[in-house]
């Protein structure tokens, strides 16, 4: 059994040599008392959930302990009553980082107050949003922070059993979690009578099997119970009647990773970061056509401009920045003129997007907004579980309309039809997947209506991306090098050496191979 003394002993034994080793590696530096990653990219970042990522060895529990790991659990178990822990988290105003932003303390309080012989705490690690990998990084690089957060949550609500529901697409995260759980059990930080306090807590891993909808809380529980992952009608609160009918708390990975830090440093400290209504930080996966792609953790309320330009370095290859998409298939596209919007739950909601779990995909002038809406709808159609009609049928019809618009077959009234369907699907679907599935369509119509109109009326794609609406032509700059003719898979290009070549539009399949290979940029897209 681990004791307070033993925990201190491990920390004192491991920390000095670890810090020395890290400083020698020249990747880290001190910021106050904390070790942080060095470099321009990290300067504007404030890392709480990611504080150990890329710094400690995630397969060595001692290194986690060296930076105060499991001290929050020790403090909670030995100095605080469960009610105090709930109060501390409530006071911190920590909000769910999975996307919805529900106050974690209120959630815990519901389960804490509810009397039952068995309660569960579930970590939702079914990170399925395309373009997001925040949770994956935390699980792979700092798995103990999640285990510790869960144990604290378990103590607070009176649960002795936790489950982590991880996507099967994350094999490395699963491996790292298995190692971490094993080590924590060996040390007695999970299991029976933790720190000799009589508190028991165990964690079991459960794997997803490739169903996006299982990230929805009730669908996730159905899946753990061994059924099709279809959401339940919300007749009861999960905190009262969840997994196997018992009070259950479901928290996202990043939310749980914030818990130990809050317990260690206090709710006041946490509220000193970020905004009044959304305290703390948020991790974003800044990806897409951006110069410096990667994970960023910044205080809530930082503007999109600071994130995309100051940290991300703006659009790639000198192209013009066009939009940023947040919230995955449930979110929206934010146009360039709203780039000074602060990033927090309320501000993003006001401009029709959502915070979401943290995917932030940058798009440039060559991204067609109708095509992007179609891409997300395609995802929602595929991942709709099929239980309720508006989501199952509505998303499919919307996708069909978008598909014909991108093919140049859009007809008058399609935009209105899309708007109508969006309203129906979002207001009548059973779960979050259906309710938010129209968001990418709603926002692209709102901010890029002219692109839809160009597709439908002028049969042209302003971003020059929709294959059916573009044409490749060879300009007078052609030097007759014949490279395009050689690379063309359908022999649509003819011409003599050192003479201007010609593309036969009737044969061209618009694969773009000639465009890529031309050494003098003599092929233009119109």
């Amino acid at each position: 059994m681990i004791t307070k003394e033993k925990l201190f002993e491990i920390k004192e034994k491991t920390k000095p040599s670890l810090v020395e080793k890290l400083l020698e590696g020249d990747r880290v530096e001190f910021r106050g008392d904390d070790l942080v990653l060095k470099g321009e990219y990290y300067k504007k970042q404030v890392r709480i959930a990611l504080k150990n990522c890329d710094i400690i060895d995630p397969t060595d529990i001692d290194e986690y302990i060296a930076f105060d790991g499991y001290f929050a659990l020790l403090k909670a178990l030995t100095e605080q009553e469960p009610g105090d822990v709930v109060a501390e988290i409530t006071e911190s105003l920590l909000r769910g980082r999975g996307g919805a932003g529900f106050p974690t303390g209120r959630k815990w309080n519901e389960a804490y107050k509810f009397d039952a012989d068995k309660k569960y705490i579930i970590c939702n690690a079914d990170e399925g949003d395309p373009g997001a990998f925040m949770d994956r990084s935390i699980l792979e690089k700092d798995p103990h922070s999640v285990l510790e957060g869960m144990a604290i949550g378990g103590y607070a609500i009176g649960s002795d059993q936790g489950y982590i529901y991880v996507r099967a697409e994350y094999p490395m995260a699963v491996k790292r979690l298995e190692i971490a759980i094993k080590q924590a059990k060996e040390y007695g930080l999970l299991g029976n009578n933790i720190f000799g306090t009589g508190f028991n807590f165990d964690i079991e891993l459960r794997l997803g099997s490739g169903a996006f909808v299982c990230g929805e809380g009730t669908a996730l529980m159905e899946s753990i119970e061994g059924r099709r992952g279809m959401p339940r009608p919300k007749l009861y609160r999960t905190a009262h009647k969840g997994l196997w009918g018992k009070p259950t708390i479901i928290n996202n990975v990043e939310t749980l990773a914030n818990v130990p830090a809050i317990m260690n440093k206090g709710a006041k400290w946490f509220r000193s970061i970020g905004t009044e209504e959304s305290p703390g930080t948020k991790v974003f996966a800044l990806v897409g056509k951006v110069e410096n792609a990667g994970l960023v953790e910044v205080p809530m309320g930082m503007t999109l401009r600071e994130i995309v330009f100051d940290i991300g370095g703006g659009a790639q290859d000198g192209k013009e920045y066009k939009a940023v998409q947040t919230g995955g298939p449930s979110g929206g596209c934010i146009p360039a003129d709203l780039i000074d919007t602060p990033v927090d739950f309320e501000s993003l909601g006001k401009i029709w997007s959502i915070m979401g779990s943290g995917g932030m995909v940058v798009m440039d002038e060559n991204t067609c907004m109708v095509d992007i809406a179609k891409f997300f709808l395609d995802f929602s159609v595929d991942e709709s579980c099929g239980k309720c009609v508006p989501c199952r049928e509505g998303t499919k019809r919307m996708h069909e309309i978008l598909d014909r618009i991108t093919k140049g077959e859009g007809v008058e009234g399609d935009i209105e039809r899309l708007e109508n369907l969006s309203k129906t699907v979002s207001s009548t679907s059973l779960c979050g997947l259906g309710q938010t599935a129209p968001n990418p369509v709603i926002t692209t119509i709102k901010y890029y209506r002219h692109e839809y109109e160009a597709h439908i009326k002028d049969k042209s794609c302003p971003a020059k991306s929709c294959k059916a609406l573009i044409k490749y032509e060879i300009t007078d700059d052609c030097i007759g090098c014949t490279r395009c003719a050689k690379v063309c898979p359908v022999v649509a290009i003819t011409g003599k050496v050192k003479e201007k070549h010609l593309i036969d539009q009737a044969i061209c399949i618009k694969c773009g191979a000639c465009y890529d290979v031309c050494p003098v940029d003599a092929i233009s897209i119109i």
Binding site: P130, Y170, A211, R228, F375
Partner: protein, 161 residues
């Protein structure tokens, strides 16, 4: 295509799988882990093994079939020796993953979701694999290829032939 499950050839795996089922019998919610194990060990879900699961865990076949068809990772036919997954997450998509998928499809002569006749390759359009900072990404089995270009495909596939 008809696939036959050879019980004799898989004898050892079946014994190990039976032991696994035994250990799961008294835990809550044993179906998903059992299906995942079967998929993992046998490479697909053989009907014979589903019947075993049904008997051992006392779950009707209809229910098992319902669950197995719901999740995209379960398959009722064997996949090729090498599984090529093309990530179609947002970050990969905006960086041209669709054309990479099309290139692989044309080189292997099959479509996404299919297996080549010699059972060497199968292609899957994958959901976001979480490697967005190195998009576009393809996976061959567990090997990750970052920032893939169309020109790289021939070379990558050749490694597995």
């Amino acid at each position: 295509m008809e696939f036959k499950f050879d019980k004799e050839e898989n004898k050892e795996q079946i014994v190990a799988f039976m032991e696994f089922l035994d250990s799961k019998k008294n835990t809550p919610g044993p179906l998903m882990p059992s299906l995942q194990r079967a998929q993992d060990v046998f490479g697909f879900l053989p009907k014979e093994m589903l019947e075993t699961i049904s008997k051992e865990l006392s779950i009707p076949m209809a229910e098992i079939y319902g669950v197995a068809t719901f999740y995209s990772q379960f398959s009722f036919v064997p996949t090729g020796k090498n599984k090529v997954s093309v990530c179609l997450g947002t970050a990969c998509y905006v960086k041209g993953a669709q054309s990479i998928l099309e290139e692989i499809e044309s080189q292997l002569g099959i479509e996404s979701g299919e297996t080549t006749v010699d059972e060497v390759f199968s292609i899957a359009a994958a959901r976001c694999v979480g490697d967005c900072s190195i998009a576009p990404v393809i996976l061959v089995n567990e090997d990750v290829y970052a920032k893939v270009k169309k020109e790289d495909i021939t070379e990558i596939l050749a490694k597995y032939n």
